[in-house]
Symmetry: D2
Subunit: 439 residues, 4 copies
């Protein structure tokens, strides 16, 4: 976790205080359920909750000090609780195993982290939608291979990103459901010393579903799917960030990240306005993606469990969610304040001498009866001259002077092939598909 | 693709013939839709389908030879079709771009590959269920950290795997839906020269959904999610394979892969019976996982598209699906024919002098009024003696001779703590959760 | 392995014939060494080599058929050899284990693959050097963050790539040394039934070094290092490919991949000239990188060995070397025939109204006694006006009209800050560092 | 960075204080070199060093506060320095770019981190050597596929690990040399405003080599190689950790991690002694490996540089080195204090009824004139009976009663095939190869 790439709410979720808080809730709710079936005296949960009602500060240092002796974190925590609650605390954790607490707590943290990330995605989607409608009909050149292809609109670019992040949102919801399970099943998951009703109660209290079958631990394919999903979202972050980095290139300059007053782009070159936020997002995407494989390697625990997954999750649990949270919020800010230059978009689009309309000519010739191969050759022949002139020649002019063209297409027919609105005919349809018929 | 790790059905799906077959269907269905709206004469699809009805052999070599000149695969294919269909073929592909064909074809292939993998998973689930019920109450030791913990049943191990692969099946269904989209939207996705109705028709014919917004290409976050899901399934394959490898260790030997007559385990050591199938599955899992990151890196294409994803998909499309298909079928065979040794399971379970019952003693002492800390110390003190005796001493005997124990627990109470059925009380409940109340 | 991304020499290295050829050599040389110390009769190697001298065709299908029964590849091969050599063949492989053959053969293949890759790198280095000197003083804009920074030369860009690939070459040499070891040490590496002298003899004959300590297998950290090194080289391939993709963008167009006559860039848009080779290289780099992690996961074999590494290596051994070989040769072709447009480089460089000289002004002001902060503010103030004018204003003019500037820098001093050769003063020095003082 | 998996020395290396300390050194040494050639007045470095000689506390919070405004870390640092040094500070950083400082500082940090890791490896190698010689002739069973193969010694296992980590050490030395370069070459690496002599001076002062050609940044293939090397070392850590985890399994129990008094293995099961350190090392290895791919993805920066690598390095720079440092030290402790149980090793070795000697019988029969195929069948036939008896039958007895055996091998000959020292004959030779002839 790098402070400069972190937001407080997500950081707090991974603090020791929050973790112990969740541990307490799990243990105390479990105690309630045990009391309900007579496993423990009713006085036990009463004592525990009564202490909790005093809102005791969680003394992380004290718990750490106990752990330094016991070398076991859950026992250390329970010992500290017992020091405060007294005698009745001995009923806590009966029939449970550490993983019941640890894994259920991790599920709570990952579910809450998901909620933050879902809210981040909602904000990003809102920004994308707003800017997409703003530029729904702002023409700009579509590029394949980095080469001018045919016109699109800037709104379409953002609508594509909206559709992509809406998919990411659905995937994250599925991933959240995958990890939001509760296991209170004892040493090897047999409920030998603690009945399933305890698990059901704790699950209900914490908004989780009971894990159908656990083996001391919640199976790690769930977590693998969760982190893999974060990796996919990171890929989409990189895609949109890369688009903006391209648009801000000196030669393109169709859009720019907002540049704050007082900001310095370069210690050496004062004129520089660099797409540093989206470059940063590209790097953050690499980090989140890099955590997918460790999570995948965590699945194959030995027998009912080994603890190799633990150190991995101590790092990637916070790091992946904190980094992606930061990235999504940063990306939302970039989109929200993005400086867009429609004039430059038009200027760039027109710099190729009308080559962007070449396909329409090709189709028109074909429909006029010329074979596909001949049509291709005719258009390419003229297109190459325009290309080599670097914008000095216009395709419309060359075609008008090419007898093999004019034999099939008159001046008006040719003019009609060089209009921009032709390319925007279906924008409404596409926006309806992405944003729904009522936007 | 390694022949020895491949199955014919999945291999055939990725052959050149199959690919060209799908390409033809896409182009011909699109032509139908174009004729329906008057874009092309009705004679065009008639001629094309009439030729197709002759069941022409697809001449891959001829198409490759054309591509060697044009350096463009779709144009090569269309040229070859035109050579056979004649004049009317010039209407094919009008207003379309290569990616309309390539990406939609890939969607068809990945959807069909998913269907094969889903069937594989069904077979695996059936085998796991059958063996799980067979060994529903076969006692065996549960192990955490590779160390004996408490008893479970062998059926529970398999039920866990069943639950895990059932989750994998759901994830794969979601991944299939994610990639099964059709894009026929032209050069930059604007439908400038081909209306959305063509896309809708082709999608319906091929069992796909229309891509809401494409940019020449279908967005690669879909494919990233697909391959990430295969990676998670591979992780689950590795987990179950690792379990079997452990069980077959010489010192454990609770289960063995089926050993065919005539099979040689080692060129040097004729007695060897090695878990080579599950070791192989471990390696295959690494391979499938290794394809996740390239798929994630494919998401951030430049602008409306670049073609960097193509070489990646040419390799991982076949390799990941073929390898996982092979792995799932191999794993099903391993489970189906697995040699299980219940006597050895019992012998192993009993070798620790009753230590596996230590937690129950701990709980009983606590409930009898001893503090948790004291109970832990008492049990651990005796447990350590048993541990160090390497099975020569029995925990039950030592406890019976420990005054701090007998002060709270009489002989009958102690005996009751050393029974096996205690650990099996909830097996029915768990099986109901995994397999449903009617199995 | 994808045929279209493969070259024959490297493919042949991984054929079944080559593999069996190497196996034979290992077994036969080992037999020589055994005969030399009297382990086997001298007649044995004589018979074996005599048969080999007849240059027998290796019947892969026959060997495969035997393997289908024995399920063991080395035994199948030896059985086939025995079928031809007769009685004396029974001395082959005595005291050896399959891995002695398999691992040593893999070492031979990886060493030969390295030799091909080293030759590829030599060719690439030669092309880079030639083009670097050709454009040693071709001015072009240096870009950080995709934004114009200060002038460099196109030769410097290529010299950087040369230095990078020269490092890659050194790393590959080290990686080659790491995997070029020979192990003939028996079932668990103890030489129990075969003395070290056999290993020494085979190693010498095959150009390998003896593995100091093996455990049936050659340790896989060696292979991990090898494939990790290929992954680093792939990263460098991607870097240079990305540079060219950027240079070929429509708005930049400072260089282009060579475009063959008859080549079609797009089925829909005849004018397109796309950087498809370097985009392809970007994808190939992802593939090679994706093989690093499986190789790293192969290191932790169980005890003296398990066979999980085998399936991984069957795939990534050929795939990584074949793909990287193809990529290096393709990249060499791209560099060799790259179309370079110096006029466009100059035009692009000058489009920013002299902003690229801003740092020199900043330094001059500082040296003239203005504080760094004030200098920065003065330059940035003028630079921003130029930036916003999109090239209409010239920085030199604005500075000449800024009293805070002219108070410190006269017209001649200002003019001197806007010269290009200033940036080329050290090109000779840098070239000497990269290519040596004599080029 | 997870505090529980961190050691202070390595953590301190990555602190803000250390970083600013190194930045100062770079800037001040560069100033010396500038003064030496008259670029700046001699009074400038004098003032700067004079202030430094007062050992000023580095006020990280103050620098951070400046950065919050300027959004540029190096400018923030220089501003803070200027606030203390006064007027003369304006000569600092002249002609330099931020990356000159950042990249050179990172090189210093990675070089120092390497030194710590090299010392860690030395300690690990020493522990491995000590324990290897201690158990040079402690017999234990060698296992392939987890199945008993033939005897080895426990010392050989440790010697193998020693050889592997010695290779890791060499690789790390090479990786250190790869990243220990200094670049002070200005905005785009042309030395336009700062001559190479400055770089040479700073490099010499900091123990680095000058980067032959930089492009504002030091090329990231160097860092990729560095982190890839750490990933390989992590793989070797996992291998040795996995070995120990296997040895500590309940059924094997040939070695155990040291178990501290007061340590609790399980909150539920007081008898548990778990290999938690080596399981933890397995997880830490996954983490370090997961950082390789982001480093590989960092290579392909755009043009002369983009800043996407920066966030990646801010995380993996500390995390990879801190985690690996911790892992190596932990592993050294495990080896150093490992509890080894030779009696159990012998007991396990003997539990298979002599099957571990089967290969020697096979060889003896072959040498006595039986065909390899027949020999194999004879041995396997008897071996299978022993195998199925689970140790009740002895291979020696069965062979002695098999007429096809006794026809070729008499009782004495058979007895001689079942001796242990046969397998230890070459241990001295192997130790010489690993540790040198004088140990």
């Amino acid at each position: 976790m790098i402070p400069r790439y972190s937001r407080p709410e997500m950081v707090a979720l991974w603090s020791a205080e929050t973790r112990f808080h969740i541990w307490f809730e799990i243990e105390a709710h479990a105690l309630d359920a045990m009391a309900a079936i007579g496993m423990v005296p009713a006085s036990a949960p009463q004592a525990v909750w009564a202490w909790w009602a005093t809102k005791p500060a969680i003394d992380v240092a004290a718990i750490d000090a106990i752990e330094a002796v016991t070398k076991h974190d859950v026992i250390a925590f329970l010992t500290w609780v017992a020091d405060h609650v007294g005698e009745e605390a001995r009923f806590l954790h009966q029939g449970m195993t550490s993983s019941d607490v640890l894994d259920t707590a991790l599920a709570v943290q990952l579910a809450r982290a998901s909620d933050i990330l879902l809210a981040d995605l909602d904000a990003l989607l809102a920004a994308l939608k707003r800017r997409a409608f703003e530029h729904k009909f702002t023409p700009t050149i579509g590029r394949s291979h980095g080469i001018h292809a045919e016109p699109v609109t800037f709104g379409l670019k953002l609508a594509q990103a909206h559709a992509e992040f809406a998919r990411c949102r659905s995937r994250l919801e599925a991933a959240r459901a995958d990890i939001a399970t509760c296991a209170i099943s004892g040493a090897v998951g047999t409920f030998a010393n603690i009945p399933p009703s305890v698990e059901a109660h704790v699950a209900a209290k914490l908004g989780l579903t009971p894990e159908p079958i656990s083996t001391q631990v919640i199976p790690r394919d769930r977590h693998a799917m969760f982190f893999a999903t974060l990796g996919v979202i990171a890929g989409s972050v990189e895609r949109l960030a890369t688009e903006i980095r391209h648009l801000q290139r000196t030669e393109v300059l169709e859009a720019e990240e907002y540049f704050a007053p007082g900001q310095k782009g370069s210690s050496a070159m004062p004129h520089k306005r660099n797409p540093v936020l989206t470059e940063n997002l590209t790097g953050l995407a690499r980090l989140v993606r890099g955590m997918v494989t460790p999570a995948l390697e965590n699945v194959a625990l030995w027998h009912e469990r080994d603890i190799s997954h633990s150190s991995v999750e101590r790092m990637i649990g916070p790091d992946a969610t904190i980094t992606l949270d930061f990235a999504l919020v940063r990306l939302t800010g970039v989109i929200d304040k993005l400086l867009v230059y429609p004039e430059r978009m038009t200027a760039n689009m027109n710099r190729m001498g009308g080559l962007i309309h070449s396909q329409r000519v090709l189709l028109a010739l074909t429909q006029a009866g010329v074979s596909r191969e001949d049509s291709y050759a005719i258009v390419q022949r003229n297109a190459m001259k325009v290309w080599q002139s670097d914008g000095a020649l216009q395709l419309r002019d060359l075609l008008g002077a090419d007898a093999e063209v004019t034999a099939h297409l008159g001046p008006d027919a040719l003019d009609a092939l060089f209009t921009l609105d032709h390319h925007m005919r279906q924008v409404d349809v596409i926006f309806d598909r992405v944003f729904g018929p009522h936007g």
